[in-house]
């Protein structure tokens, strides 16, 4: 059937990218763009009426007498700010709040998005129109994107912020994502295709201008934990897949982390240039999301051992200061906005709807052991939390 498909394509139409990309009914893609799918900036929506979230120094400065004192040198003032921030970032029991955010109380200065009557990137995950759901581009309600609600009032997640640029490490070859579509009969309409969403075991191949190259070959991660196999359909050139748990790698400050996504699904369109563009959405366990994005509590070093505490703690506190949040603030806000996977005992939600926008370009996906730098990342599973 698959060979027939290629033959028919050759006869009926000029050769397209699909002819090169399809190998025996299989289409491969490597993700070339990847970021959280978010909503508009706070100043556009007015969804942050109390302003943006603050870091510890900014919180301290609100206290009476905290401002720079007369005759206080800039250096001394800075030192006082740092000391105050450290105190605020330490729990009553002496624990660091980035490494132990549960030891802190919810942070009233960690602001989150209010309301929902505006357009936010993403898709409807649960098929329901809840009050928290946002609108999609077509104007209908139902977009489940509680991660955006949590971070939409953080300055680092505004369009000029730094937090949504984590693809830099992907382009550096530290991690990647590949899709493989098999049993493809028609790239525009096919009622059944098999889809595998995997971590990429190889570094992405770039041009000299650091643009990802189409038609490169990549190996799927050999660990089953980093592969999700599901089914899907293509309707009018739009691929939609059924939910499946997936897991990707991530790297921060040379520390290896994991980015799981439960009940993940793709909704993406094929373009004439061969790219696949759309949304990868699902639910992220709050503990995992906190670790990969904020706290790095379970981060591994390159040797597969737990990274040094000083590196994990320093990275988390440094990020909180630069990006403008508190660790315990975001931790409690993530739980507050969580919307899936209730704890059987407490009924409290433990996962939060998370959506990514992506572009992927044609690639050849193979299933072999490689000597990739990324293949070592799977070692971290032996030490990482099992979300």
């Amino acid at each position: 059937m698959n060979k027939t498909f290629i033959f028919i394509l050759s006869l009926c139409a000029p050769l397209t990218w699909a002819d090169a990309a399809i190998q025996n009914g299989t289409l491969g893609f490597v993700v070339s763009e990847f970021a959280y799918a978010l909503g508009p900036d706070a100043e556009e929506t007015g969804a942050c009426p109390d302003g943006l979230a603050r870091n510890l120094q900014e919180i301290y400065i609100l206290e009476s007498g905290a401002k720079r004192r007369q005759n206080e040198s800039e250096a001394k003032f800075e030192k006082r700010l740092q000391a105050a921030a450290k105190a605020l970032g330490t729990a009553e029991n002496g624990q660091d709040l980035c490494q132990n955010p549960e030891a802190g109380s919810p942070d009233p200065y960690f602001k989150t998005v209010q309301g929902s009557g505006f357009v936010v990137e993403g898709i409807d995950l649960d098929g329901k129109n809840s009050p928290e759901d946002f609108n999609d581009q077509a104007g209908s309600n139902g977009v489940d994107n509680q991660f955006y609600r949590t971070v939409g009032c953080s300055r680092s997640f505004q369009s000029t912020g730094q937090s949504n640029g984590f693809k830099i490490e992907m382009l550096a070859g530290s991690w990647g994502i590949v899709f493989e579509l098999s049993n493809v009969d028609d790239i525009y309409n096919d009622e059944h295709v098999d889809v595998t969403i995997s971590a990429n075991a190889d570094p992405i191949q770039l041009s000299a201008a650091r643009v990802p190259l189409a038609f490169a070959t990549y190996a799927k991660d050999q660990s089953a934990d980093f592969r999700g196999s599901t089914t899907g359909r293509i309707v009018a050139g739009v691929l939609t897949t059924d939910p499946v748990d997936v897991r990707f790698h991530s790297v921060v400050n040379s520390m290896k982390l994991e980015r799981p996504l439960l009940d993940a699904r793709l909704q993406a369109s094929f373009s004439d240039d061969g790219s696949l563009t759309g949304i990868l959405a699902g639910y992220t366990p709050v503990e995992a999301l906190y670790d990969v994005q904020y706290g790095y509590r379970n981060a591994m070093a390159v040797d597969g051992q737990l990274a040094p505490l000083a590196l994990r703690q320093g990275s988390a506190n440094g990020a909180a200061h630069v990006l403008g949040h508190t660790c315990h603030g975001v931790y409690h806000a993530l739980y507050k906005n969580a919307d899936a996977r209730p704890d059987p005992q407490t009924g409290k939600f433990t996962a939060i709807s998370t959506q990514y926008r992506f572009s992927a370009i044609p690639a050849f996906i193979v299933d072999i052991e490689t000597e990739s730098a990324n293949s070592g990342l799977k070692q971290s599973r032996e030490y990482g939390s099992d979300y």
């Binding site: 290629i6 050759s10 000029p14 050769l15 002819d19 090169a20 990309a21 190998q23 190889d202 191949q205 041009s207 000299a208 201008a209 643009v211 190259l213 189409a214 038609f215 490169a216 070959t217 190996a219 050849f364 193979v366 072999i368 490689t370 000597e371 990739s372």
Partner: protein, 551 residues
């Protein structure tokens, strides 16, 4: 030197080509009387220099130098090495390379490996030790024993160096740099003897050198120098023993690689540039891998499979890296290194002329070029020389930036060929170039150009084709294809163009090549064992007499 060139001139081409094949009633499979050429002074190529140093001192010895741009003459750098001089820049590079080698092998932690003696006092000159060193490495570097005068000269150099620098080993370095910058090392200087019949030929050590660089691309080894010393290279049986030995060594592949690197003009990769906006996949790794891909394909087909040379133009078997896989749009599972694979039939690709190393090299930085590719097919594979374009060509017809009315190269060149001065050569160059138009300026497949279907059909001197793979068949079946290889291989071996009076010898080579089913190792063996390989031309009137006798 009297040479016969095959310029491609419309209407006379076929008659010129076909006129090369019949010179009399002599049995084509028996070698005619040797004609030979002049003794040559040939500069070592970069690859020969590196291989020579590695063979004499070890493959770990660094050679950090580039010896200047090589001169290509009559289609081969190997011929150009007999015509080019040395620029001041190159001389500096030779000096720098020699100093690097001397510093490395005479470093305190390493010199015991290279010396069989040591001075009692490092600060004093040791004549015996210096003489041992000069004789041992002088013979290896000069590819023949040094004369007494040469030994004395370089030992004296060591002595002076030791005295000035206060260190015997510093003096040895000084002497070694002298040996390695001497013309006797950087050039292959051929010397002449007369055999017992009074026929002029290379002397034994020159024979050893010519044999060695032809069959291993490196300096004669100890066994070959011994055979030269013992007079074995003056007998056919002695030469045969050495040819068999050299062809069965691992280094023979290096010689085959050296020949095809030269023939395929891979030196042009040093200057190859591509527009990164148009061809983002091109980079230095692709350029290097492209050359290696073709060389691996060639050695696999010719040596490992012992295949027919003509099959190089139709084979779909090849080797790829992931970097090349991006250009060919083929999966390459192995992440690092090379993977043996096969172009799928539906890829439309077969033969080394559809490799990136040919397609990308003979294209413009931002687009393909049927003209450049067609000229290269003619010159590289068919030995047909294409004249340079006239100086007053009007390119405006094909450079129209709004070229929608002429979307394909065939359309544009049709407009260009309305100029009579251009049409003649383009009629010869363009058909083989059009055959490869399904490959863009880097070598990736394309079905369309500017939205229009590409027509890759045409005819190669009467051999019709409709697509790139059929063009490969036409090229493999072209009568000039094996003849061209035999001619180039001979030129490569002797370092000069063929002379008019060698027509019968060329016919002999081609007949033997055919007899051996176009196996390249057999062709190289035929050349190496022929009397003409070592023959040195007599005076011109004698050459004519010999040629007449052959015919």
């Amino acid at each position: 030197m009297i040479t016969k060139r095959l310029f491609i001139i419309p209407f006379v081409l076929l008659s010129v080509i076909s006129g090369c094949g019949d010179y009399g009633s002599r049995d084509a499979l028996s070698e005619p009387e040797p004609v030979g050429g002049p003794p040559l002074l040939r500069r070592l190529t970069d690859s020969q220099y590196h291989a020579t140093v590695a063979d004499i001192f070890g493959s770990d010895v660094p050679v950090v130098a580039r010896f200047g741009r090589a001169l290509r003459s009559d289609g081969l750098i190997s011929v150009g090495t007999g015509e080019a001089g040395i620029s001041p820049f190159s001389l500096e590079q030779y000096d720098s390379a020699a100093r690097g080698v001397a510093d490395y092998i005479l470093a305190a932690e390493r010199r015991d490996k290279y010396l069989s003696c040591a001075p009692e006092n490092v600060s004093e000159f040791d004549e015996n030790c210096a003489t041992d060193f000069v004789k041992k490495y002088g013979e290896k570097l000069f590819r023949r024993p040094l004369s007494d005068a040469q030994i004395a000269r370089y030992v004296d150099a060591v002595k002076q160096g030791s005295a000035h620098l206060g260190d015997f080993y510093a003096g040895l370095k000084y002497g070694l740099v002298g040996l390695m910058t001497a013309p006797e090392f950087t050039f292959r200087i051929e010397r002449v003897d007369q055999d017992s019949n009074g026929v002029r030929q290379l002397d034994a050590y020159s024979k050893a050198t010519r044999l060695s660089y032809f069959l291993t691309n490196s300096t004669p080894d100890q066994e070959l120098l011994r055979a030269a010393k013992d007079g074995e290279l003056d007998t056919p049986s002695g030469v045969e023993v050495q040819v068999r030995r050299l062809q069965s060594s691992d280094k023979f592949e290096l010689a085959v690689r050296a020949f095809f690197t030269d023939m395929l003009e891979f030196d042009l990769f040093d200057d190859l540039a591509k527009d990164s906006e148009i061809y983002p996949a091109f980079n230095s790794k692709v350029a290097a891998d492209a050359q290696e891909q073709t060389l691996r394909t060639i050695t696999y087909q010719l040596l490992e499979r012992h295949g027919d040379y003509r099959d190089l133009f139709t084979t779909r078997e090849t080797f790829l890296t992931r970097a090349l896989g991006v250009v060919y749009r083929l999966p390459v599972p192995s992440r690092s290194g090379w993977e043996k694979t096969e172009f799928p039939i539906e890829s439309g690709r077969a033969g080394i002329q559809t490799h990136v190393s040919f397609l990308g090299l003979h294209s413009h930085p931002g687009r393909s070029s049927p003209t450049l590719r067609g000229a290269a097919i003619r010159e590289v594979f068919l030995c047909q020389e294409v004249p340079d374009p006239p100086p007053d060509v009007d390119f405006s017809a094909i450079d129209d930036p709004e070229g929608n009315p002429m979307p394909t190269a065939r359309d544009r060149l049709w407009a260009h060929n309305s100029q009579a001065a251009c049409a003649g050569c383009h009629k010869i160059m363009d058909p083989p170039g059009f055959a490869l138009e399904n490959f863009d300026g880097l070598g990736s497949w394309r079905q369309l150009e500017n939205g229009a279907e590409i027509d890759a059909s045409g005819s190669l001197d009467g051999l019709d084709f409709s697509k790139p793979s059929e063009f490969g068949v036409a090229l493999s079946q072209h009568s000039e294809t094996p003849r061209c290889l035999a001619e180039k291989m001979y030129r490569f071996a002797v370092g000069r163009d063929t002379v008019w009076y060698e027509r019968s010898y060329m016919d002999y080579l081609i007949a033997k090549f055919e007899e051996h089913n176009y196996r390249v190792p057999e062709l190289m063996r035929t050349i190496a064992l022929s009397k003409n390989f070592f023959a040195i031309a007599a005076h011109q009137e004698h050459i004519a007499e010999l040629a007449d006798r052959s015919e």
